[in-house]
């Protein structure tokens, strides 16, 4: 498992590095500044210094806010889902408020009604003169699931903590960001019928994710984004309603898309 995870992270870093090297070589070869934004859309640099991005680490002036509406879709293995073939996308809401000097207040909700996560946190972004930028954030909140019907009268609730690290690279009018997150949940309680109980493996470590975001600028300063990455989590996080107790980690793809206002 350890080797497998290291291989994954190594592969992700390798892919990212290879891409960055290609870009650097390309930039050196052409020896010219990033191409001007086509069709009049704002450049990454402009957006970064105005309202900022949700994913590309940027340091907008204090008081600048960013609101985002999006969706995620997890292609979870049927073995984790006990053979259930239905997958639902999640609605994702994000809010970001710049506190100045690279510090940010962040709030995040994702929900498909059955599963909900609400987090608030603080982050710090470093965005220098070049295309690279780096950000770190930590959030805390609640993991809440509830389902009545379809053979369920169940809910679960737990505290959630999520440290994150993001590396960004500007391509002129497109920002690429690779974000790694740790997913920590606990303590956690669950109810079935009238009966409440805890879980046998209450270790905080629930999983991690590595997602590559592509943020595209627009003329008006809004941003639309898409991305994809790997979620590596306990089955319990992926599909809490059956409470599988195995601490074994499963990797599944996550697709994301949304719009930043």
């Amino acid at each position: 498992m350890l080797f497998g995870r290291a291989k994954c992270i190594g592969l992700a870093i390798g892919l990212w590095s290879a891409f960055a090297l290609c870009r650097s070589a390309d930039a050196a070869e052409t020896a010219k500044p990033p191409a001007p934004a086509p069709s009049g859309v704002k450049s990454v640099e402009e957006i970064a210094n105005q309202k900022g991005f949700l994913y590309y680490p940027s340091a907008p002036p204090a008081g600048k806010m960013r609101f985002s509406l999006g969706a995620t879709y997890d292609a979870i293995d049927p073995a984790v889902m006990y053979g259930m073939s239905v997958r639902f996308p999640q609605l994702v809401l994000d809010y970001q408020d710049s506190l100045g000097k690279g510090f940010l207040f962040k709030a995040h909700i994702n929900t498909m009604l059955v599963t909900n996560e609400a987090l608030v946190g603080i982050g710090y972004n470093w965005h220098g003169a070049g295309p690279w930028s780096v950000g770190a954030a930590v959030s805390a909140g609640v993991f809440l699931g509830k389902l009545d019907g379809f053979g369920f009268d169940a809910m679960t609730i737990g505290a959630e903590y999520r440290p994150e690290l993001t590396v960004g690279y500007s391509l002129g009018d497109v920002a690429l960001s690779l974000r790694g997150s740790l997913i920590l949940i606990g303590p956690e309680r669950a109810r079935v019928g009238d009966y409440w109980g805890g879980f046998d493996n209450p270790n905080l470590f629930t999983g991690h994710s590595e997602i590559l975001y592509v943020e595209n600028t627009t003329r008006g300063g809004s941003v639309w984004y898409f991305g994809a990455g790997a979620m590596t989590t306990r089955a319990h996080y992926a599909f809490w309603v059956l409470f599988p107790d195995s601490p074994g980690l499963y990797t599944y793809p996550r697709l994301v898309a949304g719009y930043e206002y």
């Binding site: 053979g151 169940a154 079935v192 109980g197 046998d200 590595e210 195995s246 074994g248 990797t251 793809p253």
Partner: protein, 452 residues
Amino acid sequence: MNTKTWALALAFGAPFLLADCETALEVSIPMFPDGGMLRTGTALKREQLRDGFEGMFNVSKGSALLGDKASIITSPGTVSVLTDKNAGFAVLGAACLPDQRVVVEGYWQYPTRADAGLLRVFVDPPAVAQAFCNGETPTPDTSFSLTGTYGDGDDIPTKPLELRWSNELKPWRDTFYTVAHHGACEATDHCGVSPNSIESIRLAERIGSNAAELDVRTTRDGIPILFHDPTMSASLVRGLFCNGAVKDLSLAEMRASCLMRYGEQIPTLEAALDMMVNETELSGVYLDEKTAEGVLPSARLVQKVLEDLKLRTDGRKFAPLIGIPTDDVLDAWHSAKSKLLSENADRVALGQEPLAIPECLLEYDVDKVIAEECVAWGPTWTEGPQPENVQKLRDHGIGTIFWTINESDFIEGFLTTSKPNGIITARAALLFQTYQLIGSVPEPLVKKDGQQ
């Protein structure tokens, strides 16, 4: 390739590369080199294991592995130590050595943690070991102990372990059903066997199950097989050409292209029933019919098992139940039952004995369970313990078997709140030990006609 194309390719290509990273199987069942000491000894007989070893034991040394108490049960050829600590178990063999000691050795495992190791203990006092070696079966008492060592991984065990017999086990065979959830372990566990495989059923008995729940689907040529998912999902099977829906593949195609996750063949229901009846002491099986098409062929195989059992003279009991999870399957059950009854009428007309009609277990509506005259209700545990419904069915002589509880808090809660007749679980050792420590022996079920 321009920048945006690169970005798109990278964004969508990376996860598919990454998604395959952690599917490596991480199972290592430790073994003593060269077969250990068992190879030099003479295996104890079945009745010596059952009557000489079973019981609740105090763990006087080695509680870090087994907690304070552990149950020992036996099955053909093996002695098993079961604990509620991390749902752990040890599967051991027992043999009389040339020096008249009795060695009990094998491996232990925490199935959810990939932790495992070797374990070797000896029967104490020596007089008891001598009696076993003489072919006798000494009745265990508080002087009986198993003393030795355990270790981690493939290391030769060095940590002290002592289990001292404390008391007899609560009745469990044919009494409280620890039902293996599609075999021994969850797909996310590290037991080294695939769900719904023959090997998984065999392991299930060794880790505390006395019945099994198995998933039934039919192949394109109408043969019932054991498989959970509707398609050949990568997490359950392997094989370069192993793709598509189960119902679209013939058994021959499946056998040619597919192996289960840990390399086993996908079993036919017939082979699984034969193995359970003839090679295990399991009390029954609950066939979770995933499709309506599987009901009639399953019912015919169950009839064959019941007829074979009638011919046996060794008193072997085995209760196969047709599991009904949906109204579609219920409709199929109605037509299958009508057909079997009609065939029986023909047999009677020809002066032949009618064949047994299989019994059913219905998973959902309590009133339908009563109306269909099923022998058991199999509700999902995610609606809670429902003690009123359990009692209502008990009043009708119908048992309740909840599926699928793996968490110790909830196993305790359901055992004490509803007192069911059984629970389906992938944590057989945990359920068995919890039942032994805090469970109540279920009241015998009495049907309205007075039959038990």
